[in-house]
Amino acid sequence: MATVNEKQRTTGLKTSAFTKTVVRGKAAVRIMEKRKGERVFNGSDKIRNRMKSVRNIQKITKAMKMVAASKLRGVQTKTENSRGLWQPFVALLGDGFSVDVKKNVVITVSSDKGLCGGINSTSVKVSKALTRVYSGPEKETKYVVLGEKGKAQLVRDSKNRIELTISELQKNPLNYTQVAVLADDILKNVEFDALRIVFNKFHSVVSFPPTVSTILSPEIVEKESEAGGRLGDLDLYEIEGGETKSEVLQNLSEFQFSCVLFNAVLENGCSELGARMSAMDSSSKNAGEMLDRLTLTYNRTRQASITTELIEIISGASALEG
């Protein structure tokens, strides 16, 4: 019976209903074999590859967000505890923000690792704006950069003004001794009349505004206290300890620097983690949206290719029946 059917197929004669189903069945089997063995080039596998990589990216960014969130919890308690440290100094000496001096040194605190949103760019922008604000005849501004990302941005146009760069600050959990040594280093190598520390203060996970803390050198403090104004009351304070007033003021200024720097580095670390959390969160959300769109395209392409093959089978079968 099989030979009879084959003969009929080759001669193009009408076939019975049973034969039609057999022919269609055989064609379907052939197509299924094709799918198992060969690659049907219709673009759907390209989309499948893209979907796989986007899904991986989504997983990675979700994981990074979780890591940042857990690290943030630890650093945040430390930061909040260190907030009381600079307040006595500001209560005593006021905010030296508006004090105009000849030698400004801008200390930019930034992060070492990337993928943390825009905080490093804001810090660098504020530092550069500060340089412009404090520029003038006989005045000079220098930079001390903490962190690789800030260095990369500042090196581009202010290379000759960078005195010192320090990196790998966040490698070990921060403590005061480490920062005190760092402050000592900076004080030894840099001449300054006023130090301006630029960092991102941590308000909440989504808000980290740039902040500037000022530390005046002891000579300027003396000058300002004689001139009156905010620091004018300083003369009213009796000085206990040390041989001379200037020695005590020197120690005071150095101690203030280490305390303020400690707080600044902690706050910036917190802000970095918060920014990374929100950046990774929006990144995984975008990846999810992209995945949805890709899935729709993939299904459409897949269904189109199946429809095409069905059409081929059916038109082939109907051609055979006559």
Binding site: S98, K125, N175, V198, V212, E238, M277, S282
Partner: protein, 212 residues
């Protein structure tokens, strides 16, 4: 992005808020976030103008004064209590606590601070800080730091390290003292001498604190 970020992270910020509320009682008002503190008008207008000229598109940065509660001015009569702030790098030990007296170890000797004390900046040496409140006395061993006493009977003590006396081990103190005295005798360079000197000072102060 930030709009959606805030929606998604509402859980996180609610958790932060809960933590804030939980610790609000123990933390001082002066450490509240700036949303609870009005911006002090201390930012100089001349500076703001200069900033606007130099960087018109960027918001001016915040300054520490904006985050701190302003201190009350000097009252005309001597207040009855001293408001004490004792801060360490990793903790605020005492914040805005009203006490009767504090004895601080200044480099010129033990200094008693009562309300109405004249404004002073004192450098601290290693020694015992005792806080007297009514009948109770709390003692801490302070490594070093600074103390500011303001005219409005606010006292700020900033120290690098402080421990309560019962956490000090006397045997280790003796050993340390012996160690550093030996190092001082065998020190060659100035730096070594200075380090050994510091060690001797701290350990003898510890000794005195434990015995006295």
């Amino acid at each position: 992005m930030y709009r959606q970020g805030s929606r998604l992270l509402m859980r996180a910020t609610a958790a932060d808020g809960a933590r804030l509320r939980v610790t609000a009682g123990s933390r001082p008002a002066s450490q509240a976030f700036s949303t609870e503190v009005t911006e002090a008008p201390a930012v100089d207008s001349s500076f703001l103008e200069a900033w606007k000229k130099a960087a018109p598109n960027i918001d001016p940065p915040k300054t520490p004064l904006a985050f701190m509660k302003p201190r009350p001015p000097t009252p005309s009569s001597i207040p009855s209590k001293l408001t004490l702030n004792f801060v360490l790098p990793y903790q605020s030990e005492i914040s805005n606590k009203e006490v009767d007296m504090a004895i601080i170890p200044a480099t010129t000797g033990q200094m008693g601070v009562l309300p109405g004390h004249v404004a002073t900046i004192a450098e601290l040496k290693p020694g015992v800080l005792s806080v007297h409140e009514g009948n109770e006395v709390t003692k801490y061993f302070v490594s070093s730091g600074f103390a500011f006493i303001h005219a409005n009977s606010y006292a700020d003590i900033v120290a690098v390290e402080a421990v309560s006396l019962d956490r000090i081990d006397p045997s280790l103190v003796q050993k340390g003292l012996a160690d550093f005295t030996q190092k001082l005798n065998s020190a060659v360079t100035d730096l070594e001498k200075a380090e050994a000197q510091v060690g001797v000072e701290v350990h003898s102060a510890l000794n005195a604190a434990l015995t006295g």
